[in-house]
Symmetry: C2
């Protein structure tokens, strides 16, 4: 089946205390977003990549591509007011059946194994969501009461979140809900069962200055 990837790079630099959007900050001397896109280019030449960027960042994107001589053959489209709208804009560019991986632009440590497993499981089951077990204890919080929970009964969710195109396009017709923090929750709303694949603790989302320090260290030891 044809493979697609939607790379969602909607972030600002606010939580990063940075004037430049977090996806454009460099690790190992290259913008984070370039690393993320490169993982998919390295995975397969035949993959069709759609980058979703805020409209006001397109000029900067073009400038960076020139500066770093990065000229991937990908489609670029404008982001919306929320992650939900941005993914929806990306999906609008896909008109054939296939498998689509939705990936956070600031999650550059996805591996070939994770991509393989999520595309394969999605081909079989309709969807596959990268997830990891909890290392720390967890408590639920409700009305100021906290309660210890069995951590083996929870998974932390990452990207890629990979889907049969027709399923996820249909799911994104659902009205937006603030509880949609990822694509799996959008698909779930349509009644589909969600399937988890093994992510990796290294596959972090870079959102804070500490994450940037961590990412700079991880990339020196990263095995794709």
């Amino acid at each position: 089946m044809k493979k697609y990837a939607i790379i969602v790079a909607g972030g600002s630099g606010s939580r990063m205390n940075s004037a430049i959007p977090k996806q454009f900050i460099c690790i190992d001397n290259k913008p984070i977003l370039f690393h993320t896109i490169q993982r998919f280019l390295d995975y397969s030449e035949k993959i069709e990549i759609i980058l979703v960027l805020p409209k006001e960042q397109i000029t900067e994107w073009d400038k960076l591509c020139n500066q770093f001589s990065f000229s991937p053959s990908i489609k670029v489209t404008h982001g919306g007011a929320s992650r939900f709208q941005s993914v929806k804009n990306g999906l609008a560019l896909i008109n054939e059946e296939g498998l689509v991986a939705v990936q956070d632009g600031v999650r550059p440590f996805v591996t070939r194994t994770i991509l393989d497993q999520t595309y394969q499981l999605a081909a079989e089951k309709g969807n596959a969501i990268a997830a990891i077990s909890l290392k720390d204890s967890i408590r639920s919080v409700s009305d100021n009461i906290t309660k210890s929970e069995d951590r083996t009964k929870f998974k932390l969710i990452q990207t890629p979140q990979t889907f049969k195109v027709s399923l996820i396009k249909k799911a994104y017709l659902t009205p937006e809900d603030p509880l949609f923090t990822d694509d799996a929750s959008v698909l779930e709303r349509t009644g589909e069962k969600i399937f988890l694949a093994e992510g990796s603790p290294q596959n972090i989302k870079i959102t804070t200055p500490e994450d940037l320090i961590i990412a700079e260290a991880l990339i020196k030891n990263f095995v794709y």
Copy 2:
């Protein structure tokens, strides 16, 4: 109120693929455990520190103390077969009322602010548990069905977990249960309400080779 700290260092090097126990692995050229202990020494000279170590690691501990000229004025006691038993052994050395912080030996990035806030809240409320919000989406897993959960209704739990001595000593009379993954869950079993204090994303528990890479990067930028 008198302040105590129990530092629990029961780990082996198994998940670390290391021949030496993880708490003895060096970051910034000093064993992780020394960093953790130093945070409490720096916090207050008057704090009474109890280190709980597996019996078979005491010789190595003494050797490392000599090698690094580290001679803190602390009590050292033997660990038990589980974290529960180890903390219980540590508590057995405390015979006066006060406040006790239980701290993972491999969590060296605790800050003065976290220590301040947990000791203070525990003085007021009886307990205070360092916790952080989730950055990732979370799903619950039960009988192979996964369900999206509202991540704002959960907290990831860290140490220090700080208590009034009498409360936590009484709680540790409870029979051990595999669901006790931390001290808060032991106290909760006695019917006490649990109170959370703000931890920090940097306050990681070092358990895997990736954590070691991350810790080595964090420590160069660490602000106590």
